[in-house]
Amino acid sequence: MANTPEELSYTKDHEWVRVKGDSATVGITDHAQNQLGDVVYVELPKVGEKFESGEPFGSVESVKAVSEIYMPLGGEITEVNTALADSPELVNEDPYGKGWMIELKIAVASEVDGLLSAAEYEDYLKEEASE
């Protein structure tokens, strides 16, 4: 069973979010990196770019496939994990830690309420698995 840290929030697109005040850090979940396989390349946006909630902000690639990653919340990119350029495998090795992807300044605070809790995300994974 994939790892789903209690203290984080989640989306149905398999992103995790660490909310701290009006700032959020985003990455992809353990389930997502496991499904993808070995990550060979991560395409990330530039600091200063702005996206709406649900917009693709980058992509993560395995040998076989390219998967887009979506903003869990609308906002402006304040930091990008440049370590992933040389070490994309960090996404597989430490998806919730060193594999973080972006930090953003949250534009609309109430959007945070739309995120899933760890329990809700795990239930969602169970539903997806039984389809």
Binding site: G37, D38, V40, Y41, E43, S59, E61, S62, V63, K64, V66, A85, P88
Partner: protein, 366 residues
Amino acid sequence: MLKRTPLYESHAAIGAKIVDFAGWEMPVQYSGPIPEHMAVREAAGLFDVSHMGEIEIIGANALELVERLTTNDVSKLADNQVQYSILTNEQGGVIDDLLVYRINAEYFLLVVNAANTDKDFAWIKQHAAAFNVEAADVSAAYALIALQGPKAERILQELSDHMLDRIPYYWSQKVKVDGVECRVSRTGYTGEDGFEIFCDPASARHVWNRLLVTGHDKGLLPCGLAARNTARLEAALRLWGNDMDETTTPLEAGLGWVVKLSKGEFTGRAALDRQKREGLARKIIGFEMEDRAPARDGYAVIIDGAEVGKVSSGSPAPYLKKNIGLAYLPIEHAAIGTPFHINIRGREVAARIVEIPFYKRQKKFD
């Protein structure tokens, strides 16, 4: 309704990820595309390629029919010899690429792509009517297992009565594999030494399992379609549907070495001869990305701000640790070293034409 090879249950039993390929449920990976690819290069990989098609041509005019329908010179084959060839249409376009096995002067076995088996057979049958031959689609009578890698011979030898080092590259023999009657050829689609093993479907699981067990302590891994694709791409082996199709000629695809215009009449000969005399307008090239973003099939090639072609096959290369691909470019832009850009989902990323094959195995002379 998707088709399954005789080995489907074996793949499912070990947790392979199964996908739809050309109407077949096939394993795309078992342990992962990267470990599988590395096993092929460093030890050995085992591939179920039973979905491929086999067409038998038997009779007094078998050689003549095959000679008339394919571009390579069939008359050069001895019994048990194999050649890579192209099935062309009247315009010189590629209907399929295939291996031609001469069993004897009146018995040829054509091994064709899974996606094209029905099309190829219909074309052959139509032309066979004028010849004294029987053409039959015998794909259901064969399972096909490919054992590829530097340790392939060592592994297969433990299960074979025949001295495998006596089978040269592009030759085949009847060989018993763990008591099972097979035809084994030293051929493959990975750029490594290796064998393709034809047996009856009922014996496939026995052969597959014995190979896996025998090869286990030598690093043999079962390998899926993902590793098959990255291995063939590093070796710059063409994939029909991506790197050539009925709208491209084998000359444009860089396969002039299997087009023997002087061998006599064959379908498409006049068109290919004219193209050779006039010179190509476009040709396939190999490229390397300048940075870490991989180019994928279908991405646009940009030179001087304009789209001049598309990537026909593009992927990360696990052994070479580069991002590589093939593309058709206008002849004036096709020189080795030419820099260009590829549109990767809206971003223009630098690439450069390089020599192909990207990877060439080291031949050992013991």
